[in-house]
Symmetry: C2
Subunit: 269 residues, 2 copies
């Protein structure tokens, strides 16, 4: 399933004691259609307030309960979901597909509205930064995040005991369209709050608090305290998750086979 949601009113994707999680809503919807389904596994956690347009999740559904054509599943699932969570795509996948472990890369986008007056149509969608930002310095610093690096300084304290904090970013760009800045961050994996630490640090570069050279030094220090602030959750959206070409090919082949073999019970197309 590819799932989009407005994260404003949720405690994030994953089950939390602190509030309702998106995962919980999707599981409830799935259970309504397939009582024997065994939970939903998402490609990644997202924090409270963070949005998604392309979160991928998988679920195991008993074959005998599969009485609905897959093309009608989007409507059926959405009928059981709140308006701010929408399933956008559903397809069959190979038995061993795992939304998290087989994810090849993820793309996040972060929006900043940079103008003295906030854009009221971007409330809960973008971070409002009123002061003028130096985009040249920000882009110079953004380039420093690309490549295979130790991101320990940009991971939340919780993650300080994680052994491997090396990740590879393939893209860290800042697009400008009028007063709207969009940070496009793509990589093979992300530590807890890593995206928001990168954006927060880059905005502080834009405000003159740090120079690009300071950012290089932050990587050396391997300490969260050395880096900049975390940008607020509401500007962040999990944009797209990509899977390896082989697993995609497998996926399509498997979906094709499923289409050829399956006989729909109960429903006629």
């Amino acid at each position: 399933m590819t799932i989009a949601f407005d994260g404003t009113h949720y405690a994030g994707w994953q089950f939390q004691l602190s509030g309702l999680a998106v995962q919980q809503c999707v599981e409830t919807a799935l259970k309504a259609l397939f009582p024997g389904s065994l939970g939903v596994h998402g490609c990644s956690r997202t924090d409270a307030g963070v949005h998604a347009l392309g979160l991928v999740a998988h679920a195991d559904v008993p074959r005998e309960e599969f009485r609905i054509p897959i093309r009608k599943l989007i409507l059926a699932l959405n009928a059981h979901l709140p308006e701010d969570i929408r399933v956008q795509k559903v397809s069959r996948c190979p038995q061993d597909f795992h939304a998290q472990y087989q994810a090849h890369s993820k793309e996040y986008r972060y929006q900043v509205w940079n103008h003295p007056g906030m854009n009221p149509l971007l409330i809960a969608r973008a971070w409002h930064v009123a002061k003028t930002l130096d985009l040249v310095s920000m882009r110079r610093a953004a380039a420093l995040f690309v490549g295979k690096k130790d991101f320990r300084s940009f991971a939340c304290n919780h993650d300080q005991f994680i052994e491997n904090t090396v990740r590879t970013l393939t893209r860290c760009q800042i697009q400008k369209r009028g007063h709207l800045l969009t940070f496009v961050i793509e990589g093979n994996g992300f530590l807890y709050k890593m995206c928001r630490s990168i954006v927060g640090t880059l905005v502080q570069v834009g405000l003159g608090r740090y120079t690009p050279a300071d950012v290089e030094a932050m990587f050396e220090k391997r300490d969260r305290e050395s880096a900049g602030m975390s940008a607020p959750a509401e500007g962040l959206t999990l944009w797209k998750v990509s899977y390896r070409a082989e697993s995609k090919k497998e996926l399509e082949q498997s979906a094709k086979n499923a289409k050829l073999c399956s006989t729909w019970k109960g429903t006629r197309e």
Copy 2:
């Protein structure tokens, strides 16, 4: 003033008995700073639920109450406004400037999300059209709206007794970006609900309900009943209002003079 607002919770720009109007909020904010100010005049009405990013409004403020530098007015006004209404720009204008009568052209944008699953980040920002649209036909029909035409068939019934229903559109284009269609409609003036009738009709062309030839016939009939449906308010945004070059030049000159001559009372920069 250039004003942006999320129209979701308002009865439109202009004073209404049916609910709170944006104009009312802006007047209250202005009165808080300038008790002697004489009302706010907007460039156009907008319907309940319609948004704005570039609505222009003017107000007369007594010279003796003008104790705040104009560059600080944005923050001061926004401090007295609800979060979903934001003043984006303030400048001095010539005594005879009128936001409505001197407007040269207006640009509206209308968003349609065209996919079986709604984008939850566009709730109250876009019209959700689940069925596939024929963009080629829609664009062919959209071109028919450009030029000096009698738009009587595309005005709400209220306006049937208006004498002159001839308006000139300079642009009626449909941009596509993924599943998002953006209608860009620009013209010298708009009748009541004209934008929404145009978009509603074009979407019905996309659904196969009308052909571009039917749209030509609608113009001939000069009757609202002959045209297509009105698109819902939430997809529409008043994007930009332009003023004649002379009045803009005057405006800048006047602002310059004001800056040179004025002495701020009470506040030091």
